[in-house]
């Protein structure tokens, strides 16, 4: 992450960032494909059966990384938005915009896989539990951001209005989380376990981490690809765009 940040600070001008992003996209795409392929292989064929949940638990190898990404991407978007508002950098606003669909996708994936897991494990497709409810609200927040961006024609206004919404949302997420937690919860407090020590077998943990890294690479590749499109669309009148080989061809 840190090296990416440094790069983006350095290449904060769209004209220099565009070709750089172009070089990075295939690299991250290949990493994503390899990691996700390995991760899926591990999760379906290598990881041992859980002693309690049997085979059904394997969905967590998609579910948990997706849930991580859904929250993390929102934070990253809010970070870009704050950066854009403070330093008035166009590129960071574009990054926030480029990440939104991926974040929404992962949120949806987390909710969907969660439902499939919840039915056999908990005994219900959906419970109005803190995690689930706040994840659902997170999905609404993503949708709100995307809709607001779509409704505003002027890109500058769209960027800044979206940024404010993201920041308001990021303040609200902990509040939302704690409020739903108090309100109704499946997992609160007095849950008791006979075993307090070991948490997860190494193979399972490694598999999950590989999947998470794969999702990371996928998110970066897709976001960079999308930001390239956004740059082209917004800078279509700038001189350097006209000189690009793919535009001239």
């Amino acid at each position: 992450m840190s090296s990416r940040l440094v790069n983006w600070f350095h290449f904060s001008s769209p004209a220099t960032f565009y070709p750089l992003a172009g070089r990075l996209v295939p690299i991250f795409a290949v990493i994503a494909v390899i990691l996700i392929a390995v991760g899926l292989y591990l999760s379906f064929f290598v990881a041992p059966t859980d002693y309690k949940q049997g085979e059904g638990y394997r969905i967590i190898f998609v579910h948990v990384p997706a849930a991580w990404m859904s929250m993390f991407i929102y934070l990253v978007m809010a970070f870009w938005a704050a950066l854009g508002l403070i330093f008035n950098t166009r590129l960071s606003m574009m990054m926030a915009q480029a990440l939104a669909p991926t974040g929404a996708l992962f949120t949806f994936l987390a909710l969907w896989t969660g439902a499939f897991w919840g039915k056999p494990m908990w005994g219900a497709w959906w419970v109005w539990d803190a995690r689930l409810t706040s994840e659902l609200i997170l999905f609404f927040l993503y949708m709100g951001y995307i809709a607001l961006q779509g409704a505003i024609d002027d890109t500058r206004r769209a960027d800044r209005a979206g940024a404010i919404l993201l920041l308001v949302g990021v303040v609200n997420i902990p509040i939302i989380y704690f409020s739903v937690k108090w309100w109704n919860t499946l997992h609160q407090g007095a849950s008791v376990s006979l075993r307090g020590d070991v948490s997860m077998a190494t193979t399972m943990l490694v598999t999950m981490l590989i999947m998470a890294l794969g999702f990371w690479a996928y998110s970066i590749a897709v976001a960079l690809k999308r930001v390239r499109c956004i740059i082209l669309e917004r800078e279509r009148d700038a001189g350097w765009v006209g000189k690009l080989p793919e535009i001239r061809a």
Binding site: D50, K52, W122, G123, G189, S193, V198, M200, A201
Partner: protein
């Protein structure tokens, strides 16, 4: 400089209001705000009688009795007090004696909890069966541990 004083005044007022909000949150934390109760709280009569509540704890080993037509009776414990739960329906896969469970329903006049829904508590402990067996053996001495883990 007047403008700066004014800005400082606004800042002070804002911070004071935020501090007041924090105080209120701490006040709120001192109150029970959820309908989730432990068996101890139920036995002590802290749970409302005529309201849907949730109770959670461990399913006491050896207490699960399956009656007719999917009716199951079991005891939920927090190792201090016990509450008997009656439930009619299909228990989830993860439901087992010695495991955490959460039941939603009402207390009847005899202090038996009539559940509308039973959910198995899952935790973040995933492991292959062999490891689990080994662990179970290690715990045969019956040193039950309580830990507030989050999924």
């Amino acid at each position: 400089m007047k403008a700066r004083h004014k800005r400082l005044a606004y800042l002070a007022v804002g911070l004071a209001v935020l501090a007041a909000a924090a105080v209120l949150v701490f006040q709120a934390l001192g109150n029970n705000m959820s309908y989730f109760f432990s068996p101890t709280e139920v036995v002590e009569g802290k749970a409302p009688r005529d309201h849907v509540i949730r109770i959670g704890g461990l399913v006491k080993p050896g207490t699960l009795q399956r009656g007719q037509e999917l009716t199951a009776t079991f005891v939920v414990t927090d190792n201090a007090h016990d509450v008997t739960v009656r439930y009619t329906g299909i228990l989830p896969d993860l439901f087992a004696e010695g495991q955490g469970a959460i039941a939603q329903g009402r207390l009847n006049a005899d202090g038996v909890f009539i559940a509308d829904e039973v959910l198995a508590k899952h935790d973040e402990n995933y492991m292959p069966p062999e490891v689990a067996e080994a662990l179970e053996k290690g715990h045969q001495q019956g040193k039950a541990q309580m830990s507030g883990d989050q999924p």
